[in-house]
């Protein structure tokens, strides 16, 4: 299979007075798994629809490997899609579902059969057992695999996934995410994965774009975005963070400082500033939530509520009602200014 490089240039789309996308530019490298993360209504599905060709942008262009496909209808773009509701053809067997794209292309029967066999192998669905079944005779996870196989059978230039796992149970979701990653690597197909679930995005993405109100807030590798979010929105939507009002010497003006939960330290004795600690505040533990390997502590401080994520062993020193000091460390400190941010 051959993946292409997908490039979006200054895409804008309005529905009446509502702006769905505002001047969005994006570069999806060939063969990568690119995740678009954002809350519902942020325009991420519109973006996907524009790449697929179902939606025509008001402004801007879409390029596949440098060729402008903006005016091309969906049936000529050679794009594989999986929707949240999967949309399997209910009147066709698994075989016919997967073969559909090849049939409309008029491929010979023998080639169709071989191709269906090979993609079913790729998504690990046993041909003998499942090819003849109807969609409603399959489990949710198997239906997901059929939907993916159907999209991959046409050897798409781009694979577009629109929240395909948001209706799946957590345990199945983990399994399918692993599978999806493996399949994407094996097929080497450029993949655009749209989701509102940060755990999916974190698990999958080679590259990540965080979207809000029709614009891309930040684009980068997941670690970069996690460590250096450009805005409070990004910091909160990709991971969780404590944000305190603060002034940073040398930057001037009001700003806010952020600390990821796992970097937020607690102490029972009053600490000294310096030695890696840039500041502290006092607070009280109001809730202790067990989360497997970690324990989440919720705190009330003079500057609002805060959270700390401690390893289980360490958390045993702290109980609900305890007065503690919350330490702001130098490493991992994130500063938010009016616009943009940087690591301190």
């Amino acid at each position: 299979m051959r993946g292409v490089e997908v490039r979006l240039e200054n895409i804008s789309k309005r529905y009446g007075n509502t702006v769905a996308l505002k001047d969005v530019s994006l570069n999806v490298p060939r063969g990568s798994l690119f995740t678009v993360l954002g809350p519902s209504g942020c325009g991420k599905s519109t973006l996907l629809g524009i790449v697929a060709g179902f939606i025509e942008p008001d402004e801007g262009h879409v390029f596949f490997d440098g060729a402008d496909v903006t005016g091309l209808p969906p049936q000529k773009r050679n794009v594989g899609m999986v929707f949240q509701d999967l949309a399997l053809f209910p009147h066709m067997s698994v075989f016919e579902n997967i073969a559909f794209g090849l049939r409309v292309r008029g491929e010979p029967e023998q080639a169709i059969r071989e191709k269906v066999k090979s993609v079913m192998e790729l998504v690990r669905l046993d041909f003998q057992e499942y090819a003849g079944r109807m969609p409603h005779q399959l489990s949710g996870g198997q239906q997901q695999r059929v939907a993916l196989a159907r999209a991959l059978a046409i050897e798409p230039r781009v694979l577009l996934l629109d929240e395909p796992l948001s209706h799946v149970d957590y345990s199945v979701k983990i399994l399918l995410l692993e599978e999806l990653k493996r399949i994407q690597r094996e097929a080497k197909v450029t993949t655009l994965y749209v989701t509102h679930d940060q755990s999916e995005a974190m698990y999958l993405a080679d590259y990540l774009a965080v979207m809000n109100y029709g614009t891309l807030e930040q684009v980068g590798r997941p670690e970069e975005i996690y460590d250096s979010p450009v805005s409070e929105f990004v910091a909160r939507f990709f991971g969780d963070i404590n944000i305190f009002p603060g002034e940073v010497a040398g930057l001037g003006g009001a700003s806010k400082i952020g600390v990821r939960l796992e970097r937020t330290m607690l102490s029972k004795t009053e600490p000294r500033v310096g030695n890696g600690i840039v500041g502290y505040m006092s607070g009280r533990i109001v809730e202790k939530i067990f989360q497997g390997p970690h324990v989440l502590l919720k705190l009330e401080t003079d500057y609002g509520s805060a959270k700390a994520l401690l390893p289980r062993a360490e958390s045993s020193h702290y109980n609900v009602g305890d007065r503690v000091f919350i330490l702001v460390p130098r490493t991992g400190l994130i500063v938010f200014r009016q616009r943009g941010s940087g690591r301190y």
Binding site: G53, P74, Q75, R77, M81, A87, P90, F100, V104, A151
Partner: protein, 269 residues
């Protein structure tokens, strides 16, 4: 006192019995006398199939049957096709939905006589020759509405993403329609064909107003003969056959189509 023989229960049973008797007794009597040897409907004398064999020999009845069936079939096919296209266009252009509903529903609720008179006048004004074509147009005019309403419901139960996926896999509009939409609509299309066939086959009012000299359908024949006081056992036999046709279709409709429609709503809903 046991629950089953309480007074309210008794009244309930009597009521149901009365409903059934009033509904079906006349039909039962009619069927019974269609096999009666005697020419008169006063007493049963013996079993015969004579009235049925006479039907087959009656050229006028055969001609009326041919008219009825040909109009019903052509009208069912054409109105189902047009109804399907109308219903599908609403899916493609949702803003048309209310406008089309407003246009399509009245023929079902307007009194048939009013509709029939207006059609008759219309045909007179354009100088049409009354006969097969005018009756066919009359029937199709309301059958489109029945078809539209029947099919629209099921079109809505198909996820729009199904069509999008088919398109992304390389299917053009026509291929999507032929390979996806039509197969998924089969239960609704069958239902529409049956409903419109029966509506046309059994229609009387509109036919009376739109027919011309020398052209008659089965209901018209029955009425013309009966109104002259010649309610012969032959008519009983004819009516029995017409009831049989309707029953077979309605049983098929309820057993097969309704269950299928229900299933597909559940599956896709």
């Amino acid at each position: 006192m046991c629950r089953r023989c309480s007074p309210s229960n008794l009244i309930w049973h009597v009521y149901i019995l009365a409903v059934l008797v009033f509904l079906y007794a006349p039909i039962a009597v009619l069927i019974l006398f269609s096999f009666n040897e005697s020419k008169y409907m006063t007493h049963l004398t013996g079993f015969t199939l004579e009235w049925y064999t006479r039907l087959v020999e009656n050229v006028r009845i055969l001609k009326a049957l041919e008219n009825s069936v040909s109009i019903a079939i052509v009208s069912a096919v054409i109105s189902t096709l047009l109804g399907m296209l109308a219903a599908y266009s609403v899916r493609r252009a949702p803003y048309l939905s209310l406008k089309l509903d407003t246009l399509m529903v009245p023929p079902i609720v307007i009194p048939e006589v009013a509709e029939a008179v207006s059609l008759m006048m219309f045909f007179y004004m354009v100088g049409a020759e009354y006969g097969w074509l005018t009756v066919f147009i009359g029937h199709t005019a309301f059958n489109i509405s029945y078809a539209y309403v029947t099919i629209k419901g099921q079109i809505h139960s198909i996820s729009p993403n199904i069509e999008k996926i088919a398109q992304s896999l390389g299917a053009g509009s026509f291929a999507v329609f032929r390979r996806i939409v039509i197969p998924l609509l089969t239960p609704a299309l069958t239902a529409s064909l049956l409903v419109t066939f029966i509506t046309s086959f059994s229609d009387f009012v509109k036919t009376v107003f739109t027919t011309g000299p020398g052209f008659e359908t089965l209901p018209l024949y029955v009425w013309r003969v009966a109104v002259r006081g010649r309610a012969t056992p032959e008519l009983n036999a004819l009516a029995t056959l017409m009831i049989l046709v309707s029953l077979v279709i309605s049983i098929y409709y309820t057993r097969r189509i309704i269950t299928k429609l229900g299933e597909s709503y559940q599956k896709q809903g």
